[in-house]
């Protein structure tokens, strides 16, 4: 580990690094400069990727970290991320990728509690952003399905990831996506050929186990050709309660009539930072069912952006976020109705306890050509403590005239009459509170089609607030 690993940014630009080389004291590097240095230290990549990374880095440097003046970040200050220098996997002592060595610290048994009790499901495991062949198992997917690590595909050229990579996720306008693009190295690459049907879910597990402020930039690419069908789960987890930063991007292309059930399960360490963007393009008659669950991170932001490009494409974006303590959990969604006749449904629910802060920002844009759009969006929040806070901003922008769109948001507290009703039946306040919290979340959990995921999330909801008081 280098000294960068443990060094916080000095607010004093004139500060001198104690171990600076030689008589000319070196100035402490700022975070952006540090990213630049890490960027330059990356091992060489094929020309197309080198070019893409360079564009990513340039955009990141031009955009800088967003401030709360940026409308999309109005309720979320990323200062804790922007002011810290994270250790890139690249900058380990040897200067080479630490493949093998980090993965070696994670055992299969460590992952067991994150696999929904389904050892048979296909799984790709990434440790600190890097693929671990040893921990993964994905045999028997059939010849219409190709699953590999993106790193491997980049090196071998198999599947030509360059056809899609960087073409779906908008790194030109999003700083974190640009930053991820500058550091594209590994992640999952899932290709479904026409009519491919994957019976068992594919579980992508991103585990952070590092000590010290490590950063990883998982980059995933899912290409589902026409009429293919799969369920893909992305789990972001940690096996140690450590401070690190996950900056993930997933690009998804859905061909005509393809159906993808996509689950994002964010259960990072409560000391960590998480920014994750999932961006989807949907062709005619494709179906996206997205469920985003967020419970971890001290500062966490999940973006789910989809674009309904083809006639009759449908999307369901549902989500649940649970925050406690001083957590800040932000969810942003965007649905672009480009083509006509597309229904979109969205329900996000949040439960906030302690001094936590939840944010929901949901945009629905209906473009002029998108006639007969049927859009429903709602966001409901339950505040369990007087010091918890939520900011919700459903946004509907309609430029077509023949559409049916509704949206709404609520913020409420536990129903006192319901509390008394439960109490009057002998159920103590703690249990009553858990039960009502669970009840609040029940209908959105009910939309999860994968039974093992549903029951695990239900269990987590019940456990999450069971031991916390009313204050």
């Amino acid at each position: 580990m280098t000294d960068i690993a443990t060094r916080k940014v000095s607010r004093d630009n004139a500060a001198v690094a104690k171990n600076g080389g030689g008589p000319l004291a070196t100035r402490v590097m700022g975070p952006i400069e540090s990213y630049r240095a890490d960027f330059q230290r990356q091992p060489a990549a094929p020309d197309w990727l080198q070019a893409l990374r360079t564009r990513g880095m340039a955009r990141f440097e031009a955009l800088g970290f967003p401030t709360t003046k940026n409308e999309d970040w109005h309720f979320t200050s990323v200062a804790p991320i922007a002011e810290q220098i994270f250790r890139a996997a690249m900058t380990s002592k040897t200067g080479v990728s630490s493949e093998g060595s980090t993965a070696g610290m994670v055992a299969r048994a460590d992952l067991q509690r994150f696999t929904f009790g389904q050892p048979a499901w296909h799984s790709l495991v990434f440790v600190n952003g890097e693929f671990s062949e040893n921990l993964s198992s994905y045999a028997g997917l059939g010849d219409k399905v190709r699953v590999s690590s993106l790193g491997k595909a980049i090196r071998s050229g198999v599947g030509r990831p360059e056809r899609h990579l960087g073409k779906i996720a908008a790194f030109e306008s999003h700083a974190f996506t640009a930053l991820n693009t500058a550091f594209i190295r590994d992640g999952a690459f899932v290709e479904l050929q026409p009519d491919a049907v994957v019976d068992l879910p594919i579980h992508l597990i991103f585990v952070s186990e590092g000590e010290g402020e490590a950063i990883s930039h998982p980059r995933n690419l899912i290409v589902a050709a026409q009429n293919s069908r799969a369920s893909i789960i992305e789990s972001y987890i940690s096996i140690r309660d450590s401070c690190y930063f996950t900056n993930a991007v997933t690009e998804i292309s859905l061909g005509e009539g393809a159906r993808l059930d996509h689950y994002k399960i964010q259960r990072e360490s409560e000391k960590s930072f998480h920014v994750g963007t999932t961006q989807i393009r949907q062709s005619r008659d494709s179906q996206l069912h997205s469920f985003s669950f967020a419970v971890g991170g001290s500062l966490a932001r999940t973006n789910i952006y989809t674009s309904l490009d083809g006639d009759g494409a449908t999307c369901t974006l549902n989500g649940l976020y649970l925050a406690d303590g001083v957590q800040h959990i932000d969810n942003q969604t965007s649905i672009e109705h480009i083509a006509p006749n597309c229904p979109s449904h969205e329900v996000y629910k949040g439960v906030l306890d302690g001094r936590s802060h939840g944010v929901f920002n949901g945009k629905v844009y209906v473009h002029p050509e998108a006639q007969k759009t049927d859009g429903k969006q709602s966001n409901n929040n339950l505040l369990l403590s007087p010091t918890a806070r939520v900011d919700t901003k459903p946004q509907l922008e309609i430029f077509a005239d023949d559409v049916k769109c509704t949206h709404g948001a609520t913020v409420g507290r536990l129903d006192e009459m319901a509390m008394f009703y439960l109490n009057s039946r002998g159920i103590g306040s703690e249990t009553a509170r858990t039960l009502l919290t669970y009840a609040f979340a029940a209908d959105v959990l009910e939309t999860i089609e994968l039974e093992p995921v549903k029951s695990e999330l239900e269990r987590m909801v019940l456990a999450r607030f069971a031991d916390s008081g009313t204050g």
């Binding site: 319901a418 109490n423 009057s424 002998g426 159920i427 103590g428 039960l435 009840a439």
Partner: protein, 253 residues
Amino acid sequence: MLEINDLHAGIGDREILRGITLKVNAGEVHAVMGPNGSGKSTLAQVLAGNPSYQVTKGTVTYNGQNLLELDPEVRAQNGIFLAFQYPVEIPGVSNAYFLRSAYNEIRKAQGMEEVDPLEFLDLVEEKLKLVDMDQAMLSRSVNQGFSGGEKKRNEIFQMAVLSPRLAILDETDSGLDIDALRIVAQGVNTLRSPENATIVVTHYQRLLNYIIPDFVHVISNGRIVKSGGKELALELEEKGYDWLQDAGAGAAA
């Protein structure tokens, strides 16, 4: 079993109960009657421990304990049950889960072992018959989408399962047709025993045709203005409450 002495209670600054004194022994059924706004429902809520009401004066002793000191769940664990006038809907929690939680909490408090879902199902089967309810009702969310009659039957069903020592029925008859009324009354009567007591709060006499009270009390203006036997209920049916309300107003002055 229950001794209420000079009980004053209300919401905020508004005093609703202005000195209720009432004694209920095991094995007895007491009817508490009175016009709208007389305070009879408040009495039921206060006995069950609704935190929206504040007791300002007086005492309530239940089996030798100071009832007013106990949290509502502890009262329930000690055998008090309130059948709500307006049962609360709890979307997302199944009736079965809700009632099993309640049953187990009460058992735990009494030092008994909890029952598992299957045992519980066996246990409730006969109680469902008592109130003529279908088993499918168990998997529905608590009171959600229930008709008025179903909600009231669900209250009596819960009462049958939890088998309280002191049951308080708050306007259980309101909004019930005659068949539902008969079912509810049958349920209550089946649960009557020398060890248990029941307080039936009602506006109308008709429920008392089916649940025969030992004592009838009339509340007016926050006080019991008249007590008597079951014949008092019939007298009220005939004469209305007006002849007693004057007495209540006079007493309050």
